[in-house]
């Protein structure tokens, strides 16, 4: 059997990119969609001892159907612990127990700052978005943060319209200056075209790998700032046969992940 079947869809590849960032025994705080899918792929492949929590108050849920929100009824029966926001965001996240946070944003910039508050001027918004929810504290306090974004010149920005969630804010030293925990911050931006990582000196996102079917030139063209390219830039490893089996047979037999194609993740 081919070790990397080529019949995958882009959201499956992105979910696998997320999964590969999760290590065994990691404690992961997840939202619905990509984060849950990625964490579950990791749990069923290389990170069997990783554990998950939802900000609504749930630790180690065992849902019998895919959860459609972080408050979904299916997260209740079978969980190891249920409290509320003070437990998950306070006892676990603020206390420093969460290894990986997983976020998406309407707008993400080159320092990994995320906007989920407003497009345009705050006082007279062109589009009013939901707000922070749990994103700001997760971006501030999880040891590493994975970001999912669409790769186009609207969703990526040199500077977001509103910093809802801190990435590296204004660059090196800014997080530390505000007293955020040392060593925290965004690790990757996973888009439908590429995986961007952050330079340890400048804290700027650079191109690490480009997905099959695109190129360094195309990715740079779709990025609204002058994107640096890694010396060892290469093609993203496609999903393995085992990863695809887990997604299609175990986690998502009804292929709900296809809704992300409709949302532009192609």
């Amino acid at each position: 059997m081919d070790t990397h079947p080529n019949d995958y869809i882009k959201p499956e590849l992105m979910a696998c990119c997320g999964a590969r960032e999760i290590k065994d025994f990691d404690v992961v705080i997840v939202g619905t969609g990509f984060p849950t899918m990625s964490a579950n792929i990791a749990k069923h492949t290389h990170a069997k001892n990783a554990s998950m929590m939802q900000e609504s108050g749930v630790y180690d849920a065992r849902p019998a159907r895919p959860a459609l929100s972080v408050g979904d009824p299916c997260l209740n029966p079978g969980a190891a612990m249920i409290g509320g926001l003070v437990e998950v965001m306070g006892l676990f996240l603020q206390r420093g127990w969460v290894d990986v946070g997983f976020l998406s944003g309407s707008q993400v910039d080159r320092y990994g700052n995320i906007n989920t508050t407003v497009i345009g001027d705050y006082a007279r918004p062109a589009s009013r978005l939901p707000g922070s929810g749990g994103a700001n504290p997760i971006g501030a306090l999880a040891k590493k943060v994975l970001i999912i974004a669409l790769h186009d010149r609207r969703s990526l920005a040199e500077r977001v319209d509103f910093i809802t969630t801190p990435g590296y804010i204004d660059g090196p030293g800014t997080r530390e200056g505000w007293g955020l925990p040392p060593g925290t911050g965004p690790e990757v931006i996973i888009t439908n075209k590429a995986v961007l990582r952050f330079d340890s000196q400048t804290k700027l996102a650079y191109l690490a790998t480009y997905h099959p079917g695109t190129s360094v030139d195309e990715v740079r063209r779709l990025t609204p700032w002058d994107l640096e390219v890694a010396d060892d830039v290469h093609e993203t490893e496609p999903p393995t046969a085992e990863e695809l089996r887990v997604i299609r047979e175990v986690l998502d037999p009804y292929r709900m992940i296809r809704i992300y194609e409709k949302r532009g993740y192609v």
Binding site: S56, L68, I82, G90, P130, G133, G134, L141, G179, L180
Partner: protein, 307 residues
């Protein structure tokens, strides 16, 4: 007490309300009654608001919203909230923005009688740059008196009334929940008084068989209302599932001002109480759909408190 009496007696124009829920156990029966009684100029709060807060905003009951987030979940952005903030329809509400860490901590501080609480989030972001009706009291940045490090302080919140929906309570208000908590426990305990809506009223003896589940004691409770199906279209663990098709119906209705008004006329103004609401639901969608929402039973092992 009926919900009509509870809201008439205990919720007044201009009040500051904590309204619990997190898709899990939103007190929709109380929210509909607040709209029916045309309460005005309310300040409302809770972490992660949804269709219930959108409904109050669209109905014109809200002046101020202490917010972390509001959306229709699976069904996207909150339509009435957007119309209010972007276009001033029916009027522009004032929004003070926090997060799902800071707001629950502010409610916890209120519940514990603390004046403020330090939190580790929000710093370095534009959430510190925007201040609304709380002005300079939205937060204070200080150097910690202990180690000199920059520290963010946020104020305690003490709502006039906390409104929660729970699985069961006794007739004096000892209120018990199980399942996802959100900020329900802290928000209710922060309030000056609590309105408890519940799926069922049980005896004091039943409460006493498993008292660790109680989140609010009776001495804080001003009113207890038995409202089966009171969290619909949200859910109550062990009672009924979330109603996704109703969520879609609300999204479609709230897409336009006219559609939203028709929704209010049908589901709020055209209905007297929760019993009529259930009857209308069954008439409209059939008993099979109503029955399909009802939870299966999968009991936990009984616990013993005996010595």
């Amino acid at each position: 007490m009926t919900m009509q009496e509870a809201i008439a007696c205990h919720v007044h124009d201009g009040d500051f309300l904590f309204i619990g829920g997190y898709i899990c156990r939103p007190p929709f029966g109380a929210i509909h009654e607040i709209i029916r009684q045309n309460k005005k100029d309310l300040t409302i709060t809770r972490s992660n608001a949804a269709d219930d807060f959108d409904l109050l905003i669209g109905a014109g009951c809200v002046k101020r919203f202490i917010s972390t987030f509001i959306s229709l979940g699976l069904y996207g952005l909150a339509r009435c909230y957007r119309r209010s903030v972007e276009k001033g329809i029916p009027h522009r509400i004032e929004v003070e923005e926090y997060t799902n860490l800071s707001l629950p901590m502010m409610l916890m501080a209120g519940a514990m009688g603390m004046p403020f609480v330090p939190v580790k989030d929000m710093v370095g972001t534009d959430l510190l740059k925007v201040k609304s009706f709380m002005g300079e009291n939205k937060y204070k940045m200080i150097d910690s008196p202990f180690d000199g490090k920059p520290t963010l302080l946020v104020p305690a919140l003490v709502p006039d009334v906390g409104i929660i929906h729970v699985q069961q309570a006794d007739d004096r208000g000892n209120a018990q929940i199980w399942g996802i908590g959100g900020d329900c426990k802290w928000g209710a305990n922060a309030a000056q008084k609590v309105i408890v809506s519940c799926e069922r009223i049980v005896s004091r003896e039943t409460i006493g068989k498993d008292p660790s589940r109680t989140i609010v004691p009776d001495f804080k409770v001003a009113a207890v209302v038995e409202e089966p199906f009171g969290a619909h279209p949200g859910y109550a663990p062990g009672f009924y599932d979330v109603d996704f098709s109703f969520g879609y119906l609300y999204q479609q209705a709230s897409n336009t001002v006219e559609g939203f008004q028709a929704f209010l006329d049908e589901w709020v103004f055209g209905i007297r109480d929760r019993t009529e609401y259930i009857q209308h639901y069954i008439q409209r969608f059939g008993y099979a759909q109503f029955k399909q929402l009802q939870a299966k039973f999968d009991y936990s092992f009984p616990v013993s408190y005996a010595y």
